[in-house]
């Protein structure tokens, strides 16, 4: 029986209560959890930390623009199959000529089609009871991928290509499936309908303080406060790429190398800005709008680009 008690985060990972509830719900109902939200809000971390905390096996499928369901479930290795079948012909010919050395097929037999099936993360997760399956950044996939995936996931059963072998999982042993998306493209409605949906709102300063405390328990309070203030000011500027949690943590990591007095000074002069702001245009803009004293000039104009 899979562990279906509520997981509320671990020592290193602050699982926000709503996310914890949604995740619990998805596991109890046996549906995939679809997490959307800005980059750097800890979407991918959830299944990783969950698996680590409970000592479960984790299978990851990073989605790309060329992803197919075959890669995800299982695919037939045609090239190997071709090679082996040629080798068989070759070996037969050699035998005819009285040669006794034969070429190896590495223990595979062209009679056993299953030898040529390469299992993808989904098939592996389904064959290992009570595991965790992460499908990362599904919004990067070609448009038909989510629906194909849905079909594959909705049956609790895969039929492997060519060999016909069946991988089945009982409802109790279903892996916990987590799908993440940065919302770069809309996912099909039918797909979302089959998932439990959770949108990670950007953490407010209170939550941010807790997140920082989890990562850097020994950070100086004053530094953290000041950095948080600057961070949220930067986010309000309407930059092309607003800094995310990850970037704030990186910045703090950079600041940590200094003595506390230096840290405050560095924040004021926006030292190590590169950790927070990632495009040239944005850097220029920040320099224009943030004064040296570290304060924000009067509010940014509504339509202000470049």
């Amino acid at each position: 029986m899979a562990d279906k008690t509520m997981w509320t985060g671990s020592e290193h990972y602050l699982c926000d209560r709503e996310l914890a509830q949604a995740f619990h719900m998805s596991r109890v109902l046996g549906m995939p959890l679809l997490i959307e939200g800005e980059p750097g809000t800890g979407k991918t971390e959830l299944p990783i930390q969950f698996a680590q905390d409970l000592g479960l096996e984790l299978f990851v499928y990073p989605v790309g623009s060329k992803s197919t369901v075959e890669q995800f479930v299982a695919k037939f290795d045609h090239v190997k199959y071709l090679r082996d079948s040629q080798i068989e012909v070759l070996n037969a010919q050699r035998e005819e000529k009285g040669l006794h050395t034969s070429l190896s097929t590495g223990g595979r037999s062209t009679e056993v089609l299953d030898d040529y099936v390469l299992l993808g993360p989904a098939a592996k997760a389904y064959s290992s009871a009570n595991s965790v399956l992460l499908i990362d950044e599904i919004d990067k996939a070609p448009r038909e991928f989510p629906n194909d995936l849905l079909y594959a996931l909705s049956h609790r059963k895969f039929v492997l290509p060519e060999s016909g072998r069946v991988i089945e999982v009982s409802e109790n042993d279903m892996p916990a499936i987590v799908i993440t998306s940065n919302r770069e493209q809309e996912l099909p409605t039918a797909f979302k309908g089959r998932c439990i949906y959770h949108y990670i709102a950007f953490p407010d300063p209170d939550v941010m303080r807790e997140i920082i405390a989890k990562h850097y328990p020994d950070a100086v309070g004053e530094t953290v406060e000041k950095a948080i203030k600057v961070f949220y000011q930067l986010r309000e500027l309407g930059l092309e790429r607003a800094p995310s949690t990850r970037e704030l943590l990186n910045w703090l990591k950079y600041l940590k190398g200094k003595v506390p007095q230096e840290q405050l000074k560095s924040i004021e002069s926006l030292e190590g800005l590169g950790a927070l702001v990632k495009t040239q245009d944005d850097v220029k803009r920040v320099m224009r709008q943030m004064t040296i004293e570290g304060g924000l000039k009067s509010g940014p104009p509504r339509y202000y680009s470049n």
Binding site: M6, E18, A22, M25, L29, H78, Y199, G238, Y303, Y304
Partner: protein
């Protein structure tokens, strides 16, 4: 003390009880149907629902598939289960204060402890929201003693109420009682809801009747001095009501920073497929093996994203400036999402022989140079098409004619509201020449759809 949330008696709850909820959701613009109820039932059978707060969380996970659905959903939930009607633009606390449910709860709450008369409205509101949104998760946290630990933390002082030091143990017990007794109570409550639903159809039901929210005695007695939800559900609900990002954007409003995501969604339909061929190795091998080792290459059509866009922007005159920024921002954003060629040119009111490749209109580019480009370019013209009639003379009309001749995928996006187009003579004329759409997410989508139908 650890409690497994699944080790509680299962309640078989007739699905009929919420049968009108999906249709109420639809009225609020949240898609829901009978599958919603089936999932709810599955969730209930598996012990996911113990409190009204759990119900909110469960329905939210099932129904909300986009952050913009959260606002309407929360409205529907408050309407159906709590009997709180939120008028457009109203703050949640004002709506609650008006509601019968809150008044009834308040009566009970104050009655059970006279000292509470002195609490201010904000605090009472927090208590009410805490109780509405009390979930199994919160209870588990209390049982795990987290809340108690937090009380020792001086920075959390404002959340604790002071006199509960000695009561901590008792409160835990109470919360635990709450934990195990609520299911039966919940059932009764749902029956009541159902009766009410059958009685009057339009009035909505009141989840919280005269007996208050808490199944444990009257009005909040179960939670005594303990703040369970604290930073939780209630605060979230307030946020949802105050924040426009949790409501659907108006797809008929002009493209702006607020609906840029909806506009991007319309733009995504712009992606094209080319018909290049590629060698299908697996199929070639498979067929070759069948043919006894005779390998013939098998080629298939390749589909690839390819996109070329020309943007012609009327930036003459002060009036257009306001509209141009969001459009530029939109296409620039798009560039980071799709690989495409984007060329931007500027003109004033209409075109004659040249356009300009800078905003100040100092570098003229002869239109021939644009007309020599690949006819597969999609051309978007952004302008109000309003000018003095003499400006749109024959020479200009011929220039536009050459554009429509060359580029079949051409659209004019007009920021002026569609109902005013017919008033301006030049707009009427240009509209006949070039397909014109309002400069809104919906207009953009229509423009792209009709572009996609045209083949060069």
């Amino acid at each position: 003390m650890k409690v497994d949330l699944n080790q509680v008696p299962r309640g078989i709850i007739p699905i009929r009880m919420f049968e009108s909820f999906p249709s109420v959701c639809k009225n609020f613009g949240v898609p829901a149907d009978v599958r919603t109820l089936l999932l709810l039932r599955r969730g209930m059978d598996r012990g996911l629902v113990h409190t009204v707060g759990d119900l909110y969380v469960l329905f939210k996970g099932i129904l909300v598939k986009d952050p913009t659905m959260l606002g309407p959903f929360t409205q529907a939930f408050y309407h159906y289960f709590i009997g709180v009607e939120i008028k457009p633009g109203e703050r949640l606390s004002d709506a609650i204060e008006r509601s019968q449910a809150f008044q009834d709860w308040l009566d009970d709450y104050i009655k059970s402890d006279e000292r509470r008369v002195q609490m201010d409205m904000d605090e009472l509101m927090d208590r009410f929201l805490d109780e509405v949104h009390l979930t199994s998760y919160d209870i588990k946290r209390v049982l795990d003693g987290e809340e108690i630990l937090k009380k020792d933390d001086p920075s959390m002082k404002d959340r604790a109420t002071g006199d509960d030091d000695a009561n901590a143990e008792r409160l835990l017990e109470k919360a635990a009682d709450y934990r195990f007794t609520d299911l039966e109570e919940l059932r009764k409550r749902m029956e009541k809801v159902m009766e009410q639903q059958m009685g009057k159809h339009s009035g909505g039901s009141h989840w919280i009747g005269h007996s208050g929210i808490s199944p444990y005695g009257h009005g909040g007695a179960a939670l005594g001095g303990i703040r369970v939800g604290g930073s939780g559900g209630g605060r979230m609900a307030r946020q949802v009501f105050d924040d426009p990002q949790y409501y659907p954007v108006d797809v008929d409003a002009n493209i702006s920073d607020d609906n840029v995501d909806a506009s991007l969604a319309s733009l995504k339909g712009i992606i094209e497929h080319t018909n290049d061929l590629y060698l299908d190795i697996p199929l070639t091998v498979k067929t070759g093996v069948k043919e006894g080792g005779l390998f013939l290459p098998i080629e298939l059509e390749k589909t690839e994203d390819k996109l070329q866009v020309i943007l012609l922007i009327d930036n003459g005159g002060y009036s257009m400036d306001y509209y141009i920024r969001p459009v530029q921002a939109l296409f620039k954003k798009m560039k980071t999402r799709f690989q495409h060629d984007l060329e931007t040119y500027y003109f004033h009111n209409t075109i004659y022989k040249v356009v300009y490749d800078d905003e100040r209109r100092s570098n003229p580019v002869p239109i021939e140079r644009i007309l020599n480009k690949d006819p597969n370019y999609r051309v978007f013209i952004i302008g109000d098409a309003a000018m003095a009639p003499y400006e749109l003379h024959e020479g200009s009309l011929i220039a536009w004619g050459r554009f429509t001749e060359k580029f079949k995928k051409i659209a004019w996006l007009n920021p002026v509201s569609q109902k005013h187009w017919s008033i301006t003579w030049t707009t009427t004329l240009l509209k006949r020449l070039i397909p014109m759409y309002p400069m809104t997410p919906r207009g953009l989508e229509e423009a792209i759809q009709s572009m996609n139908k045209k083949k060069n």
